[in-house]
């Protein structure tokens, strides 16, 4: 329900911002902006700079550590000492080699993360697109009640579902396989997916859909040829959102996959490594960046879509 608020405010908020960007600024406005910057300048800049540093330095420190080749350096001196010019020669890839090597096998977990994530993104989006089409363009009895019900399910914390689901999976003999992870992520992602995609779908002009129907196109043809192409940006937004959610998930992974190298994703393995090898920073730093490289890349490349997805709905799980 709070998603609704966000969709409302976000849409409302984003449009004028884009409008200002496209319009050329008048001279008066430019002067205003300058004045504003001057007014709030020294203190404001200092505070903003401090926040920016606080938000960057912790990550940077771990990144530097992951490239310090000598394990003893890492446990005996702060990472900032590696930045001194006389220590530059000591950087190396040893930590990554060891993290990915035969003993720690983080490469296997990386594969697991990919294998878990791809279907867990594709399947709920497809199902949600179909459901959103039904809610937006079909007439049937009980439509509104059903929509509110699916929408309201977003508030169910997934913790509430874990033990009964686990019991079912064990009964079916599926426990400990990729199938239960795909199934779980699909089911947990659906309420938000339906809600978001429905919101985007009702904005498609009614005439377009009706024209197609009058021309004799079936629902399937309308869905595939009229709706889907127009939904691409919305699909991209939700896909990134769901991708990051699944890739970064810990609870579902721990509950249904444990930490076997056969199916557990990186997050589950890393979380356990922190517990068992809490001060092995050479491994943890490299491991953390192995797990973060994909979401960071996706984030930097597709930030625009990510922001849209985030503004449109952040309540999940």
């Amino acid at each position: 329900m709070s998603v609704a608020v966000e969709v409302g405010t976000a849409r409302h908020a984003v449009e004028p911002a884009q409008a200002t960007k496209e319009r050329k600024l008048t001279r008066k406005e430019k002067r205003m902006i300058e004045a504003k910057n001057k007014l709030s300048s020294p203190w404001a800049s200092a505070i903003a700079l401090i926040i920016a540093i606080l938000w960057t330095v912790p990550t940077f420190g771990l990144l530097v550590t992951s490239f310090r080749g000598n394990r003893r350096d890492i446990s005996n001196s702060g990472w900032w000492e590696a930045l001194l010019p006389q220590n530059w020669g000591r950087f190396g890839l040893e930590n990554y080699e060891q993290a990915l090597g035969a003993q720690n096998r983080l490469g296997d977990y990386f594969v697991n993360s990919i294998v878990v994530t791809v279907p867990s993104v594709l399947i709920p989006i497809t199902l949600a697109l179909l459901a959103a089409y039904a809610f937006a363009w079909l007439d049937f009895k009980g439509k509104n009640v059903l929509f509110v019900a699916v929408f309201a399910l977003q508030v169910v914390p997934i913790q509430v579902t874990m033990i009964p689901l686990l019991t079912q999976y064990v009964n079916w003999g599926l426990n400990g396989s990729f199938w239960v992870l795909w199934l779980s992520h699909t089911m947990f992602g659906l309420p938000l997916a339906v809600f978001l995609l429905h919101n985007f779908m009702v904005e498609i002009p009614r005439e377009l859909v009706e024209a197609a129907r009058v021309d004799g196109a079936s629902h399937v043809a309308t869905f595939l040829r009229v709706i889907l192409p127009l939904m691409t940006p919305a699909i991209a937004s939700f896909a990134i959102f769901q991708f990051l959610w699944v890739w970064n998930d810990l609870l579902v992974a721990l509950a249904f996959a444990g930490n076997t190298p056969d199916i557990a994703p990186l997050t589950a393995r890393l979380s356990d490594m922190v517990g068992s090898r809490g001060s092995a920073w050479h491994l943890l730093s490299a491991g953390a960046f192995i797990s973060m490289i994909v979401p960071m890349g996706v984030f930097l490349a597709l930030q625009r879509y990510f922001v849209r997805g985030l503004l449109a709905g952040s309540v999940k799980g």
């Binding site: 608020v5 004028p16 004045a35 504003k36 007014l39 990550t59 459901a131 049937f140 810990l250």
Partner: protein, 326 residues
């Protein structure tokens, strides 16, 4: 090919492709059924489009939620009915009282701090030359996992080589010779706040993004008029900006509150819930999966659910208000 437990990378990818193909085939069959008859009965289209989703959420959310509520009034194994005993345990045992206290810390502090930081930061960098870069930096923690963020911060807190410890020893060392950094994550109750810092670090980016969009939506003529009246800087921020984006602030507060209520990743990764740092979400995991105490775990999950409801009701009321104003 082993369809349940492939062990090598190739087998896993093959299984993944197979699963996707099976799914695509299933979808194709459903759409084909819908397309087949010339005069399809009226109920066929809704059933085909909506059926899979309804089955999935019924099985995955509704049915297990009902079972969990029933589990919560049964014992460890789910056999004997025990009434409200599990809830009594959760609300009276000393160790659970600490869990509840910590949860209150989290739910109050994380939203307020991250909203305040996100708001101040987005107002400060709004329309400056570095706006895009500045926002990306603060937003980045949203993209990485909470596990990753926990490792990043556990390293900051490391007693020997952590940056925070070094800063502490340098600063306090100016007054006290041979100052030793404390065990940040072991000394209760302060360690809770060091964990909360991590969650604030993660969530501020979200707050900043939503609030920044809201600030940009404030009509130019309002800020312009205020400026002509000689209002600027701090006064502009407190008297124009904040009242104008009030609905968005409420949304951010409640959303972050719900996220921090449900998240257990930070606690589980950084302290495992030891040293009096557990929260309800983490305790749910520990009781359900570590101690196999089904009844108590279920009760904790239900408590989570129940705490969320008033937050959402409040959120919906705010939504109505915001719409009325508009």
């Amino acid at each position: 090919m082993d369809l349940l437990h492939p062990t090598d990378a190739l087998g896993k990818f093959a299984l993944m492709v197979l699963a996707v193909l099976i799914f695509v085939a299933a979808m194709a069959i459903i759409l084909a059924i819908l397309n087949l008859p010339k005069r399809a009965p009226k109920w066929l289209a809704p059933v085909c489009f909506l059926g899979p989703t309804l089955i999935a959420v019924s099985f995955g959310l509704i049915y297990p939620a009902i079972v969990t509520v029933s589990n919560s009034v049964h014992d460890k194994t789910g056999d004997a009915f025990v009434g409200l005993a599990n809830y009594v345990t959760a609300f009276t045992q000393p160790e659970f009282l600490i869990v509840l206290r910590n949860t209150v810390f989290w739910v109050v502090l994380v939203p307020t701090l991250s909203t305040a930081l996100g708001l101040v930061y987005s107002a400060l960098v709004d329309r400056t030359r570095f706006e895009k870069l500045a926002k990306t930096l603060v937003f980045m923690p949203m993209a990485i996992s909470m596990v990753g963020a926990s490792i990043i911060w556990k390293f900051m807190y490391d007693n020997k080589v952590g940056l925070l410890s070094a800063c502490y020893e340098w600063f306090v060392g100016m007054f006290v010779p041979n100052a030793q950094a404390p065990q940040w994550l072991m000394n209760a109750p302060l360690n809770n706040f060091f964990l909360i810092v991590v969650m604030v670090w993660i969530q501020s980016g979200f707050a900043m993004t939503v609030l920044s969009a809201a600030i940009k939506a404030i009509p130019d003529d309002i800020t312009e008029a205020a400026m002509l009246d000689g209002i600027g800087g701090w006064k502009m921020f407190t008297q124009i900006t904040i009242p104008m984006i009030r609905p968005s602030i409420v949304v951010v507060l409640t959303t972050v509150a719900m996220t921090s209520l449900k998240a257990f990743d930070v606690v589980r990764t950084m302290t495992g819930g030891n040293y009096d740092t557990s929260v309800v979400a983490n305790e749910f995991y520990t009781q359900s999966f570590k101690y196999n105490n089904q009844g108590l775990g279920a009760a904790l999950a239900v408590i989570l659910f129940v705490i969320i409801i008033p937050v959402i009701v409040y959120n919906v009321k705010q939504l109505k208000k915001a719409e009325d104003v508009r």
